[in-house]
Symmetry: C2
Subunit: 383 residues, 2 copies
């Protein structure tokens, strides 16, 4: 099986992730932050270590500003619903995933306005359009860092500047970039950074985080036991406890820590370079196949390692089915939970076949995928 | 290390839980329900299998009525906030954990009334008090199945009858009982059942579920990608998708499935019998120590395997510290995130030292704990 569905979840993970999780489960599977005994303290320290690793990767000062969540969707919901109140306005883009746009559309019912900036067919945004959309009540700008459909990278540093200049909160969805692209919350004026643990950060599913800039006051979505201020019937104000009710996913967070340690050890530049090379190679090879349409920037410097294609007007799910069944290549077809992005690209009806590459993919994997597509095209011609 | 903190999280887990999780991570770590390729389908099947196992354990008909959450707190927040609207009234008890009472107190700000039924010093409830508290706008009765502080079991079948008779929704928090006590949602008229995966169900931290009776319409707390109805910018109505946005914790859910398989293999009666025996033995031994105060029913048939004690007026955290440092016995002291329960028991100032036993504890563990307490008492006398 050649796994080219890394935009959904990276697979495999580094060996050290498996080992760290198993060790946590077997050797210190206690409840962190609740009791004072050795095992509980060890679990608590392991979780704190992951907070520190996240800080290192994204240039965050205070580990207590990292909120662990169960996935990026959870992080985005907390960020959006925690900040936006009746009468507020939010600006977002037409390349967003449903994890961003669905909560925003839901918030509309509570009297929150939104503006969707239309990107071009490659998914590229004109930041002037963002500036033009700013109104007096604009509270937040929320954009993805890279499209999960076309890979298109957003100019987050430039958008961060616009937000900063206009005193607007900037929320970045780093689902497709965390662990591969440089993200510096200070330099880029990012106030809220949402990321899953199980994609580029190489941790397990069931993990994610939201970074909250110090001083930002979000309404929590849940209340419950926090192991702190147990005497209160109201949620404590202490961060991260306020946003982390209930027993955390200790083995998952430990696995996420191991994934980030792997990234720091390998070097994020090396990881990105490898993915860029594979992406550039795949694009150039695909361009040689007559009846393949490729979407997005067609430039490995302007897109994450995500390549969406179609073979003429063929059903995208039919192609992915053949890739799986005949060639044992795992990809994802359809709308990828991002209907607006597909409308932007003109692929809303057909969907696309998405190849998403990871650090553990090789040039040979790409060759085989291209070879398979060639064979499918030939087959279709002779039909 | 003798681990007697199973009410916080059970430890260790059955070997098959570690093995299943590691296998999932290594062999089919794909994203379930998003793509159609083999690995994604295998992950999806594994998750479905856990739904079925939960159904088997709690006599639930339809596996699609199981909502996976990240812990019981998450489940309770969804249950409470999903159902209760302005003008509604909810009845709960004075033995609840903060995961129940904190969301309820928060809901008060939205115009939801609540009544807390006062239990006696042992944590026992008089169900007539519940009946008396019912008003025209009573929408829900919400109780724990067993106190996490004193172990006191609530008569949930009886309460379920009262709820059913009055056409009121019944929510049960099974954090301390799922996997050990018989819970039959049909027979007991339970409309919403919240449970963590990492306690009696022997799964990993980061898992939990909420069972929702078919036909009950809850407002979801989060929106996002569901892998279904991707074309919509609004949350799909399909269950469980509506309540399960974002990538699920596949390895965690697989581990939870393995934990339940272990329970079904051993037999829940055998597990409960073992825990009851240990509890009865520990209570009887503790009663022989002069200056130990034991709280709760003092009857293994009326309480889960949770025993709270104090040594005269000694600081509970001091005792647990000595148990850990000198005797390598892991317990939890303080308020256990349940201040109302401690007020009910008269231990709000002092807290208690909580011993919570699990299926993997032995009589020898209990003996050592009792021995340690005796030594501490002697030490204190000679002070």
């Amino acid at each position: 099986m050649i796994y080219l569905d890394n935009a959904a979840t990276t697979y495999p993970k580094p060996e050290m992730v498996y080992v760290a999780m198993d060790k946590c489960m077997r050797e210190y599977g206690a409840n962190p932050g609740r009791a004072g005994h050795q095992l509980a303290l060890e679990a608590g320290r392991a979780i704190y270590k992951t907070r520190e690793l996240i800080c290192k990767l994204f240039n965050i000062d205070n580990p207590m500003q990292i909120i662990f969540t169960c996935n990026a969707t959870d992080s985005l919901n907390l960020a959006l619903k925690g900040i936006l109140k009746q009468g507020d306005h939010i600006i977002t883009t037409s390349m967003e995933h449903n994890s961003m746009i669905r909560p925003i559309v839901t918030l509309e019912k509570l009297g929150i306005e939104y503006t969707v900036i239309q990107c071009d067919k490659k998914g590229m945004i004109d930041t002037q359009d963002i500036e033009k959309a700013i109104k007096e009540n604009t509270k937040m700008i929320a954009t993805t860092h890279a499209s999960n459909v076309a890979g298109t990278l957003m100019p987050i540093e430039e958008i961060g500047e616009i937000a900063e200049k206009n005193n607007i909160i900037y929320l970045v969805d780093a689902a497709q970039t965390a662990g591969v692209y440089n993200i510096d919350v200070e330099k880029m004026n990012i106030d809220l950074l949402a990321a899953p643990g199980h994609k580029g950060l190489l941790g397990p599913q069931g993990t994610g985080f939201l970074y909250i800039r110090e001083g930002l006051d979000l309404q929590q979505m849940k209340e419950g036991g926090t192991g702190s201020k147990s005497e209160l019937l109201t949620q404590p104000e202490i961060i991260p406890d306020r946003y982390e009710s209930g027993t955390p996913n200790t083995p998952g967070i430990v696995g996420l820590g191991a994934g980030i340690e792997f990234i720091l050890k390998e070097g994020i530049e090396k990881i990105r370079k490898h993915e860029e090379e594979l992406t550039a190679y795949m694009i150039s090879e695909l361009q040689k196949i007559d009846n393949v349409r490729i979407y997005g920037p067609l430039d490995a410097k302007k897109q994450a390692a995500v390549i969406s294609i179609n073979i003429e007007d063929e059903d995208s799910s039919e192609i992915s089915y053949i890739l799986d069944k005949v060639f044992h290549i795992a990809v994802r077809s359809g709308l990828h939970c991002a209907p607006m992005a597909h409308k932007t690209m003109g692929t809303f009806e057909q969907g696309t076949v998405r190849f998403s590459l990871g650090y553990f993919n090789t040039k040979e994997d790409v060759e085989k995928a291209v070879e398979a597509l060639k064979k499918i095209c030939d087959e279709l011609k002779n039909r």
